[in-house]
């Protein structure tokens, strides 16, 4: 086993080791300082609560709801973000006109809109889908604008010399140039979509993992609450890696993909 091999694959050992060490520290802390299980349960108790929760088919139902809200919101955000981003990136006067509104919407704490969305769209999943979409939309749109504007001068000139039309330039040059940027926006967007769905569930309705977290809090069932948080983290993890690994398939030519290979 040479040094290079170790350097490349060491993370497969060090990361799980660190994880186990952190769990052990957590356990030792609770035992040593006799922390109340209502404040911080022991890892073993959380694990047991999680197993019990997973045996209940309703848990999976809640997880599906949250997953659906996140993905639907994310899908809307991607579609609207790319179309609007391309439009604003291409049409300078439109971007100048709308820029103050975009900034205003961006600095507004959008989570404060949840009660409004519940009034508008009801306590069902729709209001959460909208919240997820609103949060995920901005990074995707702003990155698309940046990408469209990042077209190399030489590439643009080539298209002019080839007498390409506006649509041809958009399809053959500007959108492919923007694609790596759009994917970066989507990586941020998927995380925000999860947050949007969960915050929506906290504040209204009776479904989803966010609602479960609130329900366990009301029942003083802190072990289960930790279990729900664990499930949410796992879901966020999986969704993020799913989106991040799209890079390899959508932009295999890009440097970012090359870098991760070596």
């Amino acid at each position: 086993m040479n040094r290079k091999f170790l350097a490349r694959h060491a993370a497969w050992i060090t990361t799980p080791t660190l994880f186990v060490v952190l769990i052990l520290i957590w356990d030792a802390y609770v035992v040593r300082f006799q922390v109340s299980p209502l404040i911080l349960p022991r890892p073993g108790q959380v694990w047991t609560a999680l197993l019990i929760m997973l045996q209940d088919p309703r848990t999976l139902g809640h997880a599906w709801i949250t997953l659906y809200e996140t993905l639907a919101g994310f899908g809307i955000a991607v579609a609207v973000g790319i179309v609007l981003g391309a439009l604003l990136g291409k049409v300078a006067w439109l971007e100048r006109t709308l820029n103050p509104f975009i900034v205003a919407l961006q600095v507004m704490p959008k989570v404060a809109l949840v009660p409004l969305f519940i009034v508008w769209f009801g306590f069902g999943p729709t209001s959460k889908v909208v919240m997820a979409a609103v949060l995920a939309f901005f990074p995707i749109m702003t990155n698309t604008i940046l990408g469209i504007k990042s077209v190399e001068r030489g590439h643009r000139e080539l298209m002019v010399s080839l007498n390409a039309g506006t649509w041809q330039t958009l399809r053959e040059l500007e959108l492919p140039t923007a694609l790596p940027y759009v994917l970066s926006g989507a990586e941020i967007g998927i995380v925000l979509a999860v947050i949007g769905a969960i915050v929506g569930e906290y504040l209204g309705g009776s479904q989803g993992l966010g609602h479960m977290a609130v329900a366990t809090m009301n029942a003083f069932d802190v072990q289960s609450m930790f279990g729900v948080i664990g499930l949410l983290t796992l879901m966020g993890f999986l969704l993020y890696f799913a989106v991040a690994s799209l890079r390899k398939y959508i932009t295999p030519w890009h440097e970012s993909v090359q870098l991760t290979k070596t």
Binding site: E152, G154, L158, S161, N163, E172, L173, W253
Partner: protein
């Protein structure tokens, strides 16, 4: 000289307005014959690239007339499509799109013209053979050396059978040895394709090796200083550079150039 292919009359180019205006070119009258290899030579700032861009229709001259064959390049504010179709441009950078493989890059102009996939692939293979990069059709541009990328750029410019090839220091970014080889190849490709070529360079040796005629430009303001016929027999090989005839041409160009800068 054979029949006139490109005719420039009274070309003047100003950049900027009012007191800050810079005259890049003034009083340029030039005719290029069918199937001629014409080289624009001059020190930096002499307007040789601007002149090439004017012929390519990438820059609209402040005043003067550009005629290709028996048509004007500009009709009102727009370029005449039928004329632009006959122009192939090769830039100093290859400007290959990183998201297209070599074959798709070469066939991009055909795609813009709505040709079928089968036809595009066939033409790309043929051109790869012509420019000497066969076997690399499916590679990404970044997997190619600088010289090979420039070959692909030439193949792309030839893909739609332009009657005129316009080249702006196409080998300027290559090392001297690759450059010699590319000039030899360019001569071969030009003789095989029957194009009219206008090439911009600041290398005297390159100009003398390639050209039927060298147009010497002088700076501030850019204008034609001198036109020199080069009667060395074709095809020329790299050893032509050691002959007295070649060295005489180089010496003449060197003297005129020094006089122009002084």
């Amino acid at each position: 000289m054979t029949q006139t292919h490109i005719a420039l009359t009274g070309i003047e180019q100003k950049f900027g307005k009012g007191a800050n205006a810079v005259i890049a070119l003034t009083g340029v009258d030039l005719q290029v014959g069918h199937e001629e290899f014409l080289v624009l030579l001059g020190p930096s700032g002499c307007g040789k690239t601007t002149l090439l861009r004017i012929i390519a229709g990438l820059v609209r001259p402040t005043s003067g007339e550009v005629r290709i064959g028996d048509r004007d390049l500009w009709v009102g504010e727009a370029r005449d499509n039928a004329v632009v179709q006959e122009l192939g441009v090769v830039f100093q950078d290859a400007n290959l799109f990183p998201w297209l493989n070599v074959e798709d890059n070469i066939a991009l102009p055909l795609k813009l013209r709505g040709r079928s996939k089968v036809e595009r692939r066939e033409r790309a293979r043929e051109l790869c053979r012509l420019v000497g990069i066969d076997g690399f059709e499916k590679r990404w541009p970044r997997e190619l050396s600088g010289g090979m990328r420039q070959r692909a750029a030439i193949a792309r410019a030839l893909s739609y059978d332009p009657k005129i090839l316009l080249m702006d220091e196409p080998f300027g970014a290559l090392d001297a040895m690759t450059r010699d080889q590319m000039n030899l190849e360019l001569q071969r490709i030009w003789m095989a394709s029957g194009c009219t070529v206008v090439l911009v360079t600041h290398s005297i040796g390159e100009a003398a090796f390639l050209a039927d005629r060298v147009v010497l430009l002088s700076p501030r303001p850019g204008r034609i200083d001198h036109i020199l016929d080069i009667d060395l027999p074709r095809p020329r090989d790299l050893y032509v550079q050691t002959t007295p005839g070649f060295q005489d041409v180089v010496a003449q160009l060197r003297h005129r150039l020094d006089a122009a800068i002084a």
